[in-house]
Amino acid sequence: MKTYGSEPGAPTPDPIQVGISEFYITAEDVTLKSYGLGSCLAVALYDADSGVAGLAHVMLPDGDSNEDSDGNPGKFADTAIRAMLRQMVEAGATYTSVEAKIAGGSDMFEFESFGEAVGKRNVDAAREELDKLGVPIVAEEVGGQRGRTVEFDASNGTLSINSSEDESGVTEL
């Protein structure tokens, strides 16, 4: 996990980079950014009323069946979504007004050893967990065979996606 030397008074970096298996919650007007998602999935949660936002960069679908998930909830779709939601509520968000946007979950390779597509499994796991928690997915840009870099504007909940195949520009969700 990244460590920011967060001493009082020190400036917050902008954009804040959210690496693999990390998530970040904020009520400030900053940008959260995850680079080069392939089969990994970005889950962006936003509560427009309180302005509390969170971005997770998850790597694997299922934390509940993995004993490591306690120490590293951000690694798995299910545990990351729950941890983010809890922390967002603690930061002032209203559970019922949180909305989700997801991006990533490509399947770049067709190796036999991969078995079921790894990207799709991340997308399915996130959908299932969000559905279980009653958080609506209001927009998504998932699947395919391309990498994506995402920027989540925590001031208004816009998720901008830069895809390697779409050189013309940025998709905004």
Partner: protein
């Protein structure tokens, strides 16, 4: 001395915690925002460490002796210019061009703060107390003044375990190298204590032997590239790293890469990726396709790059298989042209189902006369690697044939 993944994981956490505390201390001393970048454990030969330091530039460093819970030496080395920058960025508005006494004491202070951060982090992870001597300020251009007088310094053929981490201040990397040279006994004791009961672990000597061969395999790959493309290439960097899986994509530059990926199967199984920057991939197409197409990454170019990848993969894996006296099969090549991190994250995800850390055989091939860079990542499945290495007969290392056969005809007929 046996390496067990759990014990290495402990060392990895030490490296990360240490870097985190070091960064935090720098922030609280200076009020400047700092951030820890990629952290890894790096196995490096004494000769490679010396070569890394002997690059002809002036260096300054801070060295301390460790005792109690961990015995050995910890040395932080800055390039002289980088040290001046550190002083400038962190300590005062404008440092003078000269390295005066005040700068020296500022660097010693920064070095000491970082060292104390690292060591407190290690002690936390190990749950022990580590005593630290007063710091020595050292200047020099070679490795000699920094650790020539130390018994813990690795001999040329020894693999030392190094902690590598990056700390950035205000978006700019603070350039430093950090070497932990533990006493052999103290290190084996810690490794032994952290080992999981029932785990076999990997004999250190076997890892050293295998790494030597991996080096020859890399040389073979470079010469295969030269044979097929006419581009004179050499192995520029070659390292064996132990990292958390998440670190692997983070380390790859975010620009678009052209790559060829393979899965391989046998003992060990795993993934092998060759990543070229776009300019280098264009060079390959121009060198191998008789009348280069307008779109280098169209069907013809893609197939040329895949074929070269295929031959490089055979060279690399045949070398391993010969030494391990086994068969390693690889999949057909998968071509990718995408953002660096996105190219490798599917592999990391697949391995991540069963392991948290990975040994990464990291090689960089470069050309002398033009821009040609190829990064090779071989990431074996950890259990398989452990099994393969434990079966390795170290005596075979000296006489094993590592030269692979390259079916050159096949390539020409395909392009």
């Amino acid at each position: 001395m046996k390496l067990d993944v759990n014990a290495l994981g402990t060392f990895y956490r030490m490296a990360r915690e240490g870097a985190g505390l070091a960064a935090g201390r720098l922030t609280s001393m200076t009020g400047v925002q700092t951030r820890v970048g990629v952290t890894k454990l790096n196995f490096m030969r004494g000769s490679e460490i010396r070569a890394e330091i002997d690059d002809g530039s002036e260096k300054v460093g801070v060295r301390v002796e460790l005792s109690a819970g961990l015995e050995g030496h910890s040395i932080i080395i800055f390039d002289r210019d980088a040290a001046l920058q550190v002083v400038q960025t962190l300590v005062k508005e404008a440092a003078s061009e000269e390295f005066d006494e005040m700068d020296q004491s500022a660097v010693t202070e920064v070095g000491q703060i970082m060292t104390n951060g690292f060591i407190d982090g290690w002690a936390d992870v190990l749950g022990t107390v580590i005593d630290v001597s007063t710091p020595d300020f050292i200047e020099g251009e070679t490795a000699e003044p920094f650790f020539g007088d130390l018994e813990t310094a690795p001999s040329d053929e020894d693999l030392a375990l190094l902690f590598r981490s990056q700390i950035e201040a205000v978006g700019r990397e603070i350039g430093y190298k950090h070497y932990l040279l533990p006493e052999h006994d103290s290190m084996s004791e810690i490794l032994e204590r952290q080992r999981v009961d029932g785990s076999d672990g990997i004999e250190y000597d076997k890892l050293v032997g295998f790494d030597k061969l991996a080096q020859q395999g890399a040389t073979e790959v470079a010469s295969a590239v030269t044979t097929l493309t006419g581009i004179e290439t050499v192995v520029e960097i070659r390292r064996l790293n132990f990292v958390s899986l998440e670190t692997i994509p983070e380390e790859i530059a975010n620009e678009k890469k052209v790559g060829v990926a393979f899965s391989f199967d046998g003992t060990p199984s795993g993934y092998l990726l060759f990543l070229f920057d776009e300019a280098s991939a264009r060079e390959i197409v121009e060198a191998t396709v008789p009348s280069p197409p307008d779109n280098e990454f169209g069907e013809m170019g893609t197939s040329a790059i895949k074929e070269l990848g295929n031959i490089m993969a055979s060279g690399f894996l045949d070398g391993w298989a010969n030494v391990l006296d086994t068969t390693i099969d690889h999949s057909p090549p998968e071509f990718i042209h995408d953002m660096g991190a996105a190219v490798i994250d599917p592999v990391v995800i697949d391995l991540g189902e069963n392991q948290e850390y990975a040994f990464v055989f990291d090689t960089q091939i470069q050309a002398a006369d033009r821009a040609f860079d190829c990064d090779i990542y071989a990431i074996p499945n950890e259990d398989d690697l452990e099994r393969a290495l434990n079966d390795l007969d170290v005596d075979r290392v000296e006489d094993a044939k590592t030269t692979a056969e390259f079916p050159v005809d096949e390539v020409e007929s395909d392009t």
